[in-house]
């Protein structure tokens, strides 16, 4: 069965869960695949560790928990420290490269790709769209969900009035991802 397991990790307030939810929504509702989402929150709204586990597959998913993800998206150093060793060998690490520096904790053959997502978000006008930049980066690098699907999922998920900025955030992450991929190949 063609299945991809994803973990998104970061801090409360970075939009980790929304990132996972948008990926799952894009895959399931707009790309016609199957997806599951498991979310884990800390006790505080802000600053505590949180993560999302997303599974995307062509067929129905029997077990939604992710222990060794194929793709790990991390937005904070703590999330990197906690989850990097769990990445599947040969997996993909997508990280916020102004907050995180990958080290030797990464499993063999990891493809590590970074993006200054916080800076991009700040330059666009709002730091809180960092997660949408990361979502675009994910779509651009992995091609696991189509841009059209993730665009619809973002538009459908974010509050009214914030769509334009979120779309620009998505596009900036996606374009950067395509660039990084083109340079790497």
């Amino acid at each position: 069965m063609d299945k991809t397991e994803i973990r998104v990790g970061g801090l409360g307030g970075q939009g980790v869960i929304l990132c996972g939810m948008i990926i799952g929504k894009a895959a399931s509702i707009y790309d016609g695949k199957h997806a599951t989402l498991i979310q884990a929150f800390g006790p505080e709204a802000r600053g505590s560790a949180c993560s999302a586990q997303v599974t995307v597959a062509e067929e129905a998913i029997g077990y939604p928990y992710v222990t060794h993800p194929d793709v790990l998206i991390v937005m904070s150093p703590d999330a990197y420290t906690q989850f990097a060793p769990t990445l599947k060998p040969g997996g993909t690490l997508l990280y916020e490269n102004e907050l995180i520096t990958p080290d030797d904790k990464l499993p063999q053959g990891t493809k590590a790709l970074g993006i200054p997502a916080t800076r991009f978000a700040e330059e666009l006008g709002r730091r809180l769209v960092l997660n949408i930049v990361m979502t675009g980066f994910f779509a651009g690098v992995t091609e696991l969900v189509s841009f059209e699907a993730v665009e619809k999922a973002v538009r459908d998920s974010v509050p009214r009035g914030t769509e334009d900025l979120n779309m620009r955030a998505l596009r900036s992450g996606y374009d950067y991802g395509r660039e990084v991929l083109a340079k790497g190949n």
């Binding site: 970061g10 801090l11 409360g12 307030g13 970075q14 939009g15 980790v16 869960i17 929304l18 979310q39 884990a40 929150f41 800390g42 006790p43 505080e44 709204a45 802000r46 949180c50 800076r119 991009f120 330059e123 666009l124 006008g125 709002r126 809180l128 769209v129 997660n131 998920s157 974010v158 509050p159 009214r160 009035g161 914030t162 769509e163 334009d164 900025l165 779309m167 620009r168 900036s172």
Partner: protein, 202 residues
């Protein structure tokens, strides 16, 4: 990376209250002459409300340059290829008022009372919130009754009156009204969404 200001959803083809078809789009580098013509077509009484001498080619060139540099965001309304209205968002990219944007809207006299000003102002508010601004302001002279109604309909509330702050073309001092619209609640909703917290999940 410089954040590009690409305006989503333009050009827009809209119909005014009397059925007049207009196109609202962002200002382009080639619009200098059309803008100059538009502003020169306004009467002196209309231009007295503007803060710049918009009839000078130097002003238009500077204006279009600022649009290109993304320092201001400007929309024009066109009817049959002619500019009939213009709306601009001014903001300071850094500092203590970086979250505030100022709106200025001008319309051709022949297209007033048809909803053109409302259309332009509404679109500019949408653009401004899309840029992440939290508070929008507009300055109006006390006797600009139509403008005051238009912005009130869009949620602007009169916040300050500067007495005798402006002089009209007859030298009469008039009060300047500053109205504002706090659009930060839009971003509060986004902030709540990315809080990554559920009171029912631990």
């Amino acid at each position: 990376m410089e954040a590009p200001v690409t305006l989503e959803g333009f050009p827009q083809h809209l119909t005014l209250r009397d059925g007049t078809k207009v196109v609202v789009r962002s200002v382009e580098a080639t619009d200098s002459n059309a803008l100059l013509q538009f502003y020169r077509s306004l009467g002196e009484a209309d231009r007295e409300f503007l803060t710049d001498d918009v009839t000078k080619p130097e002003w238009v060139q500077r204006f279009v340059r600022l649009v290109q540099l993304h320092e201001i965001v400007s929309l024009v309304a066109e009817h049959e290829g002619k500019v009939i209205g213009e709306a601009t968002l001014y903001r300071t990219p850094h500092g203590w008022t970086a979250h505030v944007g100022e709106l200025r809207v001008s319309t051709a006299p022949a297209f007033r009372r048809k909803g053109l000003g409302t259309v332009l102002a509404h679109e500019l508010v949408r653009v401004a919130t899309g840029l992440g601004l939290e508070k929008l302001i507009v300055q109006m002279v006390e006797n600009q009754a139509a403008a005051r109604r238009t912005f009130a309909r869009l949620g602007f509330k009169e916040e300050a009156v500067l007495r005798g702050h402006v002089k009209d073309i007859h030298g009469i001092k008039r009060n300047l009204v500053i109205a504002s619209n706090d659009v930060s609640h839009i971003w509060d909703a986004m902030e709540a969404m990315v809080a990554d917290f559920s009171p029912t999940s631990g």
